[in-house]
Amino acid sequence: MTRSAAMTYLLPHLLERSAEAQPDHPALRFRDESLTYSALHARAAQLANALTADGMEKGDRVGILLNKGLESAVALYGIMLAGGVYVPIDPFAPPARAEFVIRDCGIRRLILGERTRSTLEALAANDVPLDLVVGLEDGDFPYRTISWESVATLPVTPPSVSATELDLCYVLYTSGSTGTPKGIMHTHRSALSWAEVSAAAYQLSPRDVISNYAPLHFDLSTLDFFGGACAGATTVIIPEEHTKFPASLAGLVEEEQLTVFYTVPMALIQLAQPGIMDGRDFSKLRLVLFGGEPMPVKHLREIMTHLPDAEFVNVYGPTETNGCTHYRVTEVPAAGSAPLPIGRPYPNVEALVVDDDSKPVDDGATGELLIRTPTMMRGYWGRDDLNEGAFYRRNQFGGLPEVFHRTGDLVAAREDGTLAFLGRRDRQIKSRGNRVELDEVEAVLVGHDDVREAAVYAVPDVNGSLEIQAAVILSGTAVSETDLLAYLRGVLPSYAVPGSLHTEDAFPRTSSGKIDRLALQAQASVAYASVKL
């Protein structure tokens, strides 16, 4: 069956459409390599044919265990063109995590790179059942293998598949270092909606050069690739090592002449350090998008002085829903540390703020944010225990209920109608009988001039109660831990002041660049138990 040229209902049709409209336009760049739209489409189609020839069927999950590079983009399109579901696996995670994802998601085929070969060795040693590994010369593995060279000999017309827009296109596993990862399932429809919404909201065009900062398993990457392909823009895949070296990252942003930079607050905080951005030309950069966790206003103020002509937008949305709301920063107050609003819903998104009984709160009151949007996930892979609680169903007009996602995030409407983000619901604890928002304590700490970043977490104490603890990274060394606690006592109620506070050179991070508070909490719990028991 041939598809009407105007009809776009699967995510990879975005690539097909741009390959027809502007075949020779660069779709991707990585280091000194690039792929045009027609070349990317051809290579993805060849991979799709390799997978189909191996017996892959619609809905099969295929793992992408690759470091960043052109192949990783070929892989995600190739898998979808074959009717499959791509599942990125963090190439830097321990093999045990790769094994968990592969077994949990029932992955039988894997796209591999030379640098992730050692992970495959560990998988084979544990008898992880796989059918096919793409990207490998014949090796001593109990799996069928096919090299990229062999894939490149296959036809460049994609196989015909019977997938519909309601079928899954990817599963993204949550990236925390502790706890059981959850696979968040998205359909072609939800992903395509987000690509179209983001391309329209930010007026992406073929002239744009968009960063891909996030790894594939982090949902920021979907705007980079699919928002970009929707607009026929060029996406520059940022090599992983640049995320550790802000001075090198600044050089790349300048040399690649990025027009759109989508990243996490950590990257912007690092770029704003003295000396990093001085003397460089960022005049092409028109738009800086950031999301994933709250951006401290004082750091935003710093980075904005370096990029006076760029527009800054705070993008809010859990992986479960894609982008829900955004806040276009028009001005930042010159002083103070009030958190940055998350703004207003995108078109086609409904936001409700509800109390503990799921009843809408009064304007300005704090409640949990519920989101209804076509960009919403299907659910968590294989986790019916979680799927019930993840959604709220409202029977307002009879017939089928309206389905909202429970974000678990606390928000309140501000006077101008934008939403303020007040923290995670599960980061709300009881301290000496009083309710404390750990995220609020964190925001107050970061408000101190000498604190660059802060993490606040609760550790069980010997009485079965919780002790609030804080870790900070200082921007200078001018302030002592005692002084910081004294500062907090002047701003917060006594029950919200951390029982202890210490400084760190750097924080553990999740693979998506967020502060790994659970890891800090786990370290503190071990230390606490050994000291106080």
């Binding site: 830097f92 090592e241 640049h242 550790k244 001075a247 050179d505 750097a506 991070r509």
Partner: protein
């Protein structure tokens, strides 16, 4: 300073402290950032070690892939900083 070559001191710190328990050992010419052997937390710790051990400040704009690519390139960069410091 003990007079020990910079490269030896750096290698000892990376292998005995930074990578302790990870089952990885590196040599002076091994790539340490491209393959993720040392992550961003590791880079921060390495800088903390350098600043404490050699009394050399490492400004943020010097923390680049070129300088930190291998222990040998890092030692070369540091030698330059030490020489600058003693010249001024």
């Amino acid at each position: 300073m003990t007079g020990e070559p910079l490269e030896t001191a750096l290698l000892r710190y990376v292998n005995q402290d930074l990578l302790a328990g990870l089952g990885a050992e590196i040599g002076g010419d091994d790539e340490i950032v491209l393959d993720g052997t040392v992550d961003s937390l590791g880079v921060a710790r390495l800088i903390g070690f350098i600043e404490a051990e050699f009394a050399v400040a490492v400004p943020a704009e010097h923390v680049t892939i070129e300088n930190f690519r291998t222990i040998k390139t890092l030692a070369g960069y540091l030698q330059g900083r030490v020489d600058e410091g003693s010249a001024s």
